[in-house]
């Protein structure tokens, strides 16, 4: 499958064409992997962390954490945004080297000085933010840092490609290793990064929110792979905010809260309510997602159409897409990763110019030539990838104010106003740490996502386009977002939620469109809908 998406010649060269196909790369079968050394008696934990504390510039991120990982177990890790999950794992993986406490592998004390040390000791981590090389081929990505060479010292392409193909196939992923990595759907990229870690020979594999970009079949594949890995005697740490996933795949689960390890418990006999209570505290069990059952969609008649798309088409990404959104309505657009919905969202914000079709806002036809025009036309957009929305080195308040700077000031900046606006959002969205002056990069993943949303909340847009708005958020934060978005809808905004997570769409939408291979194939309105029905249509 040679997925060569035509690269868009863009003036400043930063439009990344996205993969446009969601064909089946995946074969779901039991995965068999070679067993690693069973040298260590199984009662010695593979990894022990004792009394781990870590602080960032005086702010404690971990306090006295004792964590144990056994050989051949899948260990689920849950906790609110900012609870310290990633920090803990980064210590294990040698990313953070300056911490207090002891770390033992197979009973022997170690202290890594770099991620390379950790890798050498058999610890591999797939980070929350993808770290693949989009411009290299799949094969090169799988062999990153350990390319086979011929006798003459030249990279042995043939071995590399054949090996990569073989390895991926053994995981049930069928893709041509010569494909450019960036041309593949995000989910597949994530699986390939995982493959790299698995085949690096790691005995401890850490996955930081691996399923947040995966579609259900991909999640199924991932779980198969994980079970294969477990059967080979290796240990896995699996961080996720999807409690269902945690409960279905893990053997043991650990809850973090506010930098502390609250409890470690076998998965047997616990449920979501139990987890949520320990993650957030009692009284919030009702957060347990209500959309597990059926949801009744109710659209309100008589509202004016705010945005209307007609026969939009763009390259190979999507074609003949027509829909409209009314004021005071949340329209969900659901589809597996790479089915064109991401490109569609970008088109609505003027980032991608559609080849065909028209867009009308408030009944007036608009040609959006760039994002500035889209914003000025009253459209706001939050992309699925935080990295492309946020300025990591800048303080939170500058991140919030950038999209409304023109309203705050014509010529001269007004930092006091910027700060007070940002503080308001930090407070109302419960962003932690609750300061507008911290550098954005110091926030945990979920809190960064809230900042991305906050950018558009000061001056209400007419249309709010959200791509994967709750990716990486804990249950509480998701609930916050759901409330915020609903409140905006009730104020009369037209909201479009684009997602590959059925839960996201179901928890928000008043009406749902399903996209498949770049086309809208189904509309659900004024009826009852469940996750199964949604998946069936996609």
């Amino acid at each position: 499958m040679a997925a060569t998406v035509p690269r868009q010649a863009s003036a400043a060269g930063f439009i990344q064409p996205l993969p446009s196909s969601c064909e089946a790369f995946l074969a779901v079968e039991p995965v068999k992997l070679m067993t690693t050394d069973p040298l260590v008696p199984s009662d010695t934990p593979r990894l022990q962390m004792q009394g781990i504390s870590k602080s960032f510039g005086g702010v404690a991120a971990l306090r006295e954490v004792d964590f144990t990982l056994r050989a051949g177990e899948i260990h689920g890790l849950v906790g609110e945004n900012g609870a310290g999950k990633s920090t803990m794992m980064k210590i294990i993986a040698g990313v953070h080297t300056d911490y207090e406490g002891k770390m033992l592998i197979d009973g022997k004390e170690v202290h890594f000085r770099s991620a390379r040390d950790a890798l050498a000791a058999g610890i591999g981590m797939v980070h929350q933010e993808l770290s693949i090389m989009p411009d290299l081929s799949v094969g090169e990505n799988v062999y990153l840092g350990k390319q086979p060479v011929t006798g003459a010292g030249i990279i042995d392409w043939r071995t590399m490609m054949a090996g990569a193909h073989e390895q991926l196939k053994s995981l049930g992923i069928d893709v041509d290793p010569k494909t450019r990595m960036g041309d593949l759907p995000i989910g597949l990229q994530q699986l390939i990064e995982l493959a790299r870690v698995i085949f690096s020979g790691a005995r401890i594999i850490i996955l930081d929110e691996p399923t947040s970009a995966l579609s259900p079949p991909e999640v199924q594949l991932l779980f198969n792979v994980l079970q294969g890995v477990r059967a080979s005697g290796r240990s896995i740490v699996f961080i996720s905010h999807f409690l269902d996933d945690i409960l279905s795949i893990s053997d043991t689960v650990t809850v973090f809260r506010n930098g502390r390890l609250i409890v470690t418990h076998p998965v047997a006999g616990i449920d979501k309510g139990w987890l949520i209570e320990r993650m957030i505290g009692s009284g919030h069990e009702d957060l347990e997602e209500s959309y597990t059952g059926a949801i009744a969609l109710a659209s309100k008649p008589g509202q004016p159409v705010v945005l209307a798309a007609e026969h939009l088409g763009y390259g190979r990404a999507y074609a003949d897409v027509s829909f409209d959104v009314k004021a005071g309505e949340i329209l969900g657009i659901y589809g597996f990763m790479g089915c064109g919905q991401i490109e569609l969202a970008r088109t609505l914000f003027g980032k991608i110019k559609a080849d065909t079709g028209t867009l009308a806002i408030d009944g007036r036809k608009r040609r959006l030539r760039n994002t500035t025009q889209a914003r000025d036309a009253g459209i706001a957009f939050v992309p699925e990838n935080r990295r492309s929305m946020l300025f990591y080195e800048q303080p939170v308040y500058k991140n919030v104010s950038i999209s409304i700077l023109g309203r705050i000031s014509r010529l001269w900046l007004k930092p006091t106003i910027e700060r007070s606006i940002a503080r308001k959002h930090v407070e109302s969205l419960h962003i932690r740490p609750p300061r507008a002056e911290v550098a954005l990069g110091a926030l945990s993943g979920g809190n960064q996502q809230k900042v991305a949303l906050a950018k558009w909340l000061t001056h209400r847009p007419k249309v709010l386009v959200l791509s994967e708005p709750t990716r990486g958020m804990d249950v509480g934060a998701k609930d916050d977002v759901v409330k915020i978005v609903r409140a905006l809808r009730d104020e009369g905004l037209a909201v479009i939620v684009v997602s590959a997570e059925p839960e996201t769409v179901l928890s928000l939408a008043d009406r749902v469109l399903v996209m498949k291979k770049g086309r809208i194939v189904r509309e659900f309105a004024n009826e009852t809908i469940s996750k199964d029905r949604l998946l069936e249509a996609a």
């Binding site: 400043a12 510039g57 760039n370 994002t371 492309s388 946020l390 303080p395 010529l411």
Partner: protein, 342 residues
């Protein structure tokens, strides 16, 4: 001068603070070391007269460097600064009445008009840079490389190997005049530095420059007109270069081909040595001032001590290399921190 950095560093441990301030500390330390070294090595170095010399010597480079700071902060580069300066200086002389022995087919016009035409010329060249980079999509490195040649071509065509001496009065006052013994060209530089700093630090446009340099995609997703900002930075840079060229011609007392050849390197060096990130988003005029002083002190100081003039060139190259290493090294520290912060 680099307020962007302070808040990020506030509240963290002092070692962390020092690391994050490397970008600002290293150039400043270099400057102090050079000052101490030359003051000891040569009695004629640390004098008021020489300070005024250094100031005059860095003025032309400095005006160009102000414009270049805008471009580099966006994460782009402009290789045509010296060439545009040369062309603009020649244009202003071309429209000025020359002595009869100057054999140039020039078109004398009123002084203000000559200046206006010269300004139009550099603005035009800047607009071409901007158009090529943002609308057509040529990388700025290549686009301005072509412009470097175009500027040289314009210069060559206008003077045809001759030398012109006269420039409009206003230009010669600014470039070669004195106010109470103080060189006016240094005042021009000061004005550019102040305006540049104020623009970058206190205006909306300045914020956009930093944000575009910091994360271009994020700026675009925030509704910032990225192409407009990049284009504006390139035009500003060309206009700064043009004015540097005009006052430079007055300062040197002549307008001729290849007059500004060494200035491209000096201007880039000033910005980068000062600690402005080559990748965009960090640094500022404050850094450029330090960079200019390092370069000025180095160039001037080497003249004050007995040293092989050919070795001088090598030493300058080595200092530039060291600055580049620090620049990229600091960038790496930051990307590690960012990875940790994800």
């Amino acid at each position: 001068m680099t307020f962007q950095q302070t808040s990020a560093a506030r509240g963290s441990k002092s070692s962390l603070f020092l690391r994050s301030q490397m970008r600002n500390i290293a150039p400043f330390a270099t400057l102090i070391l050079l000052l101490i070294f030359f003051s000891i090595a040569s009695p004629s170095f640390a004098t008021i007269d020489n300070a005024s010399n250094i100031l005059t010597q860095i003025s032309v480079t400095g005006i160009m460097a102000v414009g270049l700071t805008f471009v580099i902060l966006c994460g782009e580069i402009d290789l045509s600064v010296a060439s545009i300066a040369n062309a603009t200086g020649i244009v202003v002389a071309y429209f000025t009445l020359q002595e009869s022995y100057v054999n140039i087919a020039n078109i004398p016009v009123a002084g203000w008009l000559a200046v206006a035409l010269a300004l139009a010329a550099c603005t035009g060249l800047g607009l071409i840079n901007a158009f090529g980079t943002t609308v057509i999509g040529i990388p700025s490195f290549i686009m301005t490389l072509a412009m470097m040649q175009i500027g040289a071509g314009i210069s060559a065509l206008l003077v045809r190997g001759q030398i012109a001496y006269n420039v409009p009065d206003i230009v010669s006052t600014l470039g070669a005049g004195n106010v109470g013994g103080f060189p006016t060209i240094a005042l021009v530089l000061l004005a550019f530095l102040v305006v540049g700093h104020v623009t970058l630090t206190y205006t909306r446009f300045g914020r956009y420059i930093y944000m575009v340099g910091g994360n271009r995609e994020a700026a675009e997703y925030s509704g910032v007109n990225v192409k407009l900002i990049l284009g504006a930075a390139l035009v500003i840079c060309a206009v700064c270069s043009g004015i540097a060229g005009m006052v430079g011609v007055a300062h040197f007392g002549s307008a001729q081909q290849n007059e500004f050849d060494g200035y491209l390197l000096d201007a880039i060096a000033a910005v980068v040595v000062g600690g402005t990130s080559l990748f965009g988003g960090r640094g500022g005029i404050g850094n450029t001032i330090v960079g200019l002083c390092v370069l000025g002190v180095l160039n001037n100081g080497l003249d004050h001590i007995q040293i092989d003039s050919f070795l001088k060139i090598l030493i300058r190259g080595l200092i530039l290399l060291a600055a580049l290493i620090v620049n990229v090294y600091v960038q790496n520290i930051r990307s590690v921190e960012r990875a940790e912060g994800a």
